[in-house]
Amino acid sequence: MNKQVELKNKRVIASNHVKLGQKNQKGQTYTDINDIFYKAKQTPNFLTGSEVIRAAIKVASVGTSVAYPITPQSEAAALIGELYAEGYVDEYFRGESEFAVMGQCAGAAFGGHRVFTTTAGPGTLRAMENFPMWAGARLPIQVCVTCRGINSPLSIQPDTLEMYYLLETGMLIWHAETAQDLFDFILKGFIVAEQPDVHVPIAVCCDGFFVTHTKDTVDLPPDDLCLTPYDPYRNPQPVMDMETAPIRMMRDPFIMKSNYISYATHASWQQEVKAAVERSRKHTIPLLDGLIDEENTDREILIVGSGTAVSQAREAIRLLEEEGIKAGLVKIKTIRPFPYEEVRQATKNAKHIFVPEFNLAGWLAREIKANIPDNERVYVGPHVAGGMTMPSEVIVEEIKKHLGMEVATRGTLG
């Protein structure tokens, strides 16, 4: 690293957008993201995750949103439709499948709109071909993924397996733990993804139902402020509107048909997309207050997680504490870019690292194991899937068992 990225004043991305301070047609004032979060008065609201998505999009100056029903994102997608009817979103319609929806989103982004959509589970997989296309085409579309089961037999319940499939698409992947995270990540996600040096799509993921369908207290800024609109000309590629140079331009050309060296172009292209994801760190660290959160990472027992597994882990740590066992916590907020260095530092004192996950693949544990020294310290689990909850007691039991401590037998009739 040639330069330390710091959290100085939480204000690195000062917007100099021409519309700053002006009002939109709904009377909302275009405001710098820093001012929205760190200057404006935040008021507590008691909302479901779906309502939180609506609240975020209401102030996000979104150009196009395309919807398609699939549990558990249907409600949020329909609520954005209400915003469209009220005039807060410029274009909105129902597509015919997730594959088509993501194509429609691509068209809107190629044309220069800020684009938001939502999907879940099987929808994510049906749309999958589009995601690396979005990234390769440098389209900063935001998709909110409300994770649910993907495999047969059908399940509409929470399961984060689909995130595993997203890891190498070239998108930014952020994982919200709570409704508050969801609100913050959606708005901050637009700003980071649209930086001209980043300019790749972003998946803001949350665990379906646990976050989307439960009510939580969320601090919201006043809704008469809104993000400055997307500036399509701050773009690493030409906008497809026939208003920019160069005149002869295909998005994106078949470079493999050029000549012998064009394979190098394709390889360099892939590298550039990965590089763009890496560049997002600089903008994300000040806005999200770091890519990870740490609590007591000087302890020998650590739980590392993302999404709602973090909430369950936090409660597990409280229960362990009651028994005199001290454990620390690392919450990973961005899965892509993966916080390699941060996780290495945060886990350097740990002797036992537990990674609870709401999927059976254990993708987060694999990421961690691949990136820290002495990775036999990582215990892959506990896991639940298919909509099972992960009681904090289960995390406690698994930790105690692994450490060779006595665990009360469960399920026996007393």
Partner: protein, 213 residues
Amino acid sequence: MSHYEVKAGPEAFLPPAAASMGNVLPDPGEAHIGGKIVPEEEAYEKAARMVLGAKVPTIFPGPLVLWKWNDHVAEEAKAIRELALEAPMRIIPMADYRPKYPKINQEVEINPNHPNLTIWHNKIDVCIFFGVHCHMANLSLKMIRGGTNCYTIAMCAMAGDEDACLSFRDADLKMINKLKATIKKLKSEGVESQAEPFTQFVMGRSGTIVAPA
């Protein structure tokens, strides 16, 4: 803090993207030299010295400055021409990003899909990118670093290019003029241009009117 130094190549069959090696882009008012963040002032001096010290220094203007799609780019184009005259440097356009069949005329064009051909053919040892979309610039800069020994300077209108050996950010008319002024100042201090004598080619409607020499 160890860092990945972005040097002139030839570096590797497929060199890494500097951002993936941990290199971070400069903030406003800064630039980078070889991946090291420096005040912008320092970069003018270094860029000017590299240009003056080169045998075949060349500017590659891209579509954003070749096409007069708004008024301020016309002024930038004029400044680019003046910079080339002051140094002196050759000008070879990156007119397009399309993969041209069967290949470009490497004497008078550069293409992001095979920038090395132009650099090898003309023996270009220092180049400046201006007006090329960031994505295409980064592809080219990486390939140039991979296969040639050319020192690359990027005058990027946005956040800068880590894949260049030296990069400015927020480049505009003022910055082109400042680089020109720095070259002029160095020359007045006795730094002589090492550029081999050349004739800037001129294109006509049916091809080259004045051939490069």
